[in-house]
Assembly symmetry: C2
Homo-oligomer: 232 residues x 2
DNA sequence: ACTGTAATGGACGAACTAGTACGTTCCTAG
DNA sequence: CTAGGAACGTACTAGTTCGTCCATTACAGT
């Protein structure tokens, strides 16, 4: 039942014996593989729908190891969430648009967010699943609740700079702007299946990506620069 | 274990004995109550997470009746989906913005969509759940796949009229515009829990509703009327 | 009243599923 | 080389969960 019988080398917690080929026992590799398979299975079937036995069958180790390293199904799920969120946050903090003028900075930020969502569809599924469960697992994780989000700070700076230059007319607040950008990037991935079934067009299909990316950037910029305003 | 032991009268398929008080046997009422409870439970726990036994405990009838009327869990779930989608589609087809000028028509459509999402959060959860399962149940329902969506036709008309008058500058297509509007309305409900946990603000809280409604309308109008354009 | 049938209830079973008891093997420190 | 613990595998269990069997009751038409 094992898959991928070919030799391979994944991350190892023990830097000793680096190039020595294959190890029979490698806690780091086993842990990593469990997390990898678990993420795929949870994303595919939801929390309750994912089966621990099925995960075990998809791994090069046994179910016993899942419980050895993670204790129970919920802790495994939380570990998957933590890993996924941490990766996302790492990528997010690498964004640097300080060298750009406010309008192009916010547009670039929106487009990078777009690309990031497009490239991490499993993560989006996990977030959707977590929302169905009212974020009860996310709230149990100190690692995640403490992990602040620097992106609103960045947006706040861009908005201030844009208002100072007179480019932005709205009094919009950073959290709201971030929410709008996320909305536009998230939906076309999260709802691609129902939307596709009802409208005959998979919104996450590659042929729409470039057009949608530009639309998202345009919408955000158009809103902030205040066209079509119904301001008093 | 029964709840609500008080007498009541819900919809009945048999119009005979209308005011005669209580009926012991009423297929219509039983069916309706099963669907009602099932919708709540599926929305709360997801498809796999919802328990048929739990539903039965929440009803004034027994689990046997669920299987008597719906056959199995999946068919019950599909019936819930069909009911929810049909209700939404009915409300949607009642929208009439033909008396408005294009700009205000699209803004009103966006705001009505916003209010509709805000008022039907259980439906949004069902859609999220269905997307986790790649819309496999939705696709099994002829009633749903045949049910075309008139909203894109409406948007198409508005876009044409707006372009004819020179109000709209974009070449945006109706399905894309509908997707953007849906994105903005859907996300703040579907992701309220994770977003709220990470940013300390529940985006679906009542105190943000009016501001967000206006933001959504503004974004759509601003985009279509083409402010901040990076057009070639 | 009477009878066929739709509607209903309760108890049960087979299969599944999270989690564990216990024994074994590999790796490394000393 | 050799403990001793970390890493691992097999087989199992206890509880859950979907679905069904069979008996029973209310209702409508005659």
């Amino acid at each position: 039942m094992r898959r991928n019988p070919s030799p391979w080398s994944l991350m190892s917690t023990q830097p000793v014996t680096p190039e020595s080929g294959e190890r029979r026992r490698d806690a780091g590799r086993t842990r990593a593989e469990i997390l990898e398979v678990a993420q795929r299975e949870f994303a595919r079937h939801g929390y309750a729908g994912a089966r621990v036995d099925d995960m075990a069958a998809l791994m090069r180790t046994t179910k016993r190891m899942i419980y050895y390293y993670f204790g129970n199904k919920e802790k495994l799920y939380i570990a998957v969430l933590e890993k996924a969120y941490t990766e996302v946050r790492t990528a997010e903090s690498a964004i640097d648009v300080r060298h750009l003028a406010p309008v192009e900075a916010i547009r670039t930020l929106a487009e990078l967010t777009f690309d990031h969502h497009d490239a991490h569809q499993d993560f989006i599924k996990l977030v959707s699943i977590e929302n169905i469960h009212r974020a009860e697992h996310l709230r149990k994780s100190e690692a995640l609740t403490n992990l602040g989000t620097p992106v609103t700070g960045l947006i706040s700076q861009i908005l201030d700079a844009g208002r100072a230059r007179g480019d932005f007319t709205t009094s919009a607040d950073a959290v709201d702007v971030h929410m709008m950008i996320s909305s536009l990037c998230f939906f076309r991935i999260s709802n691609r299946h129902t939307f596709g079934a009802l409208f005959g067009r998979d919104p996450a299909a590659p042929e729409h990506r470039d057009r949608h990316r530009e639309m998202v950037g345009e919408m955000v910029v158009a809103y902030l620069t205040g066209a079509g305003a119904r301001h008093m």
